[in-house]
Symmetry: C2
Subunit: 146 residues, 2 copies
């Protein structure tokens, strides 16, 4: 009967374990780009550019954190800032060609690592796992905010 509780327990434990390992794993996988940097770059690509504030909101980071991350990425020549057309305070961030290239490289590494790790899963399982994760994250993102 408390199958439900057992499942919750497992989900909690495994997600936690995963989170603990993720940073180190990312560092092993691509030393040039931390997990945060990677995430921010990926978001910029996906969105085709956005403001620092949007990044902060989306990833639950402080503006100062994003500001420094972006500054670092800019120093590396991976990100550029353009004045926002409608708001003189804001800047629209976007990838440089080099940024896109680096991101593609790292993404490929990551993809390969995942592909290898999940190589023996069948397609239907992958699909369902992906759907579950998406659902989990979406529910997590929406409510707790304020």
């Amino acid at each position: 009967m408390p199958d439900r509780d057992a499942s919750l327990e497992t989900i909690q434990r495994e997600l936690t374990a995963f989170a603990r390992r993720a940073r180190a794993a990312a560092a092993r996988l691509h030393p040039e780009l931390s997990l945060v940097s990677y995430t921010l770059l990926a978001h910029l690509e996906e969105q085709g550019g956005c403001r620092a504030t949007d990044l902060a909101a989306h990833y639950l980071l402080d503006k100062s954190t994003v500001s420094r991350q972006i500054a670092a990425l800019e120093r590396l020549g991976l990100v550029e800032r353009l004045p926002a057309p409608e708001d003189q305070r804001a800047q629209v961030l976007h990838l440089t060609a080099r940024g896109a290239e680096t991101l593609a490289q790292v993404a490929a590494n990551r993809r390969d690592a995942f592909r290898e790790r999940l190589g023996d899963w069948d397609g239907a399982d992958l699909d369902r796992f992906a759907a579950y994760l998406l659902r989990y994250n979406t529910s997590a993102r929406m409510p707790g905010r304020r």
Copy 2:
């Protein structure tokens, strides 16, 4: 047809996003106990005590990191060290009564948070999600090591 690739892409993205948020979420959930501390305490409880080295090995942490974490937990009165019976260098770590209590409290908070977040999932989905996570983590833990 590269459904498979799409799923992999989603899994990668969502796991990454989750990892990024986990620390902050944990901090909101229980400011007294960081995610690492929580993890270490939970492991001690689960194992009924173990050495610092075991923790380091299990969580892919440096000994120095564990040493400092444990020192902090000891200062908080949540963990005690006992001389290891057979090895004079080693110490067996275990929870104090207060540590067990704190852990239980935090674990309950976490459980509630997860229960709320996943409240509208049906049992079969929870079960499958848990199984997928477990499978993922197990495959991740084993091979890449060295």
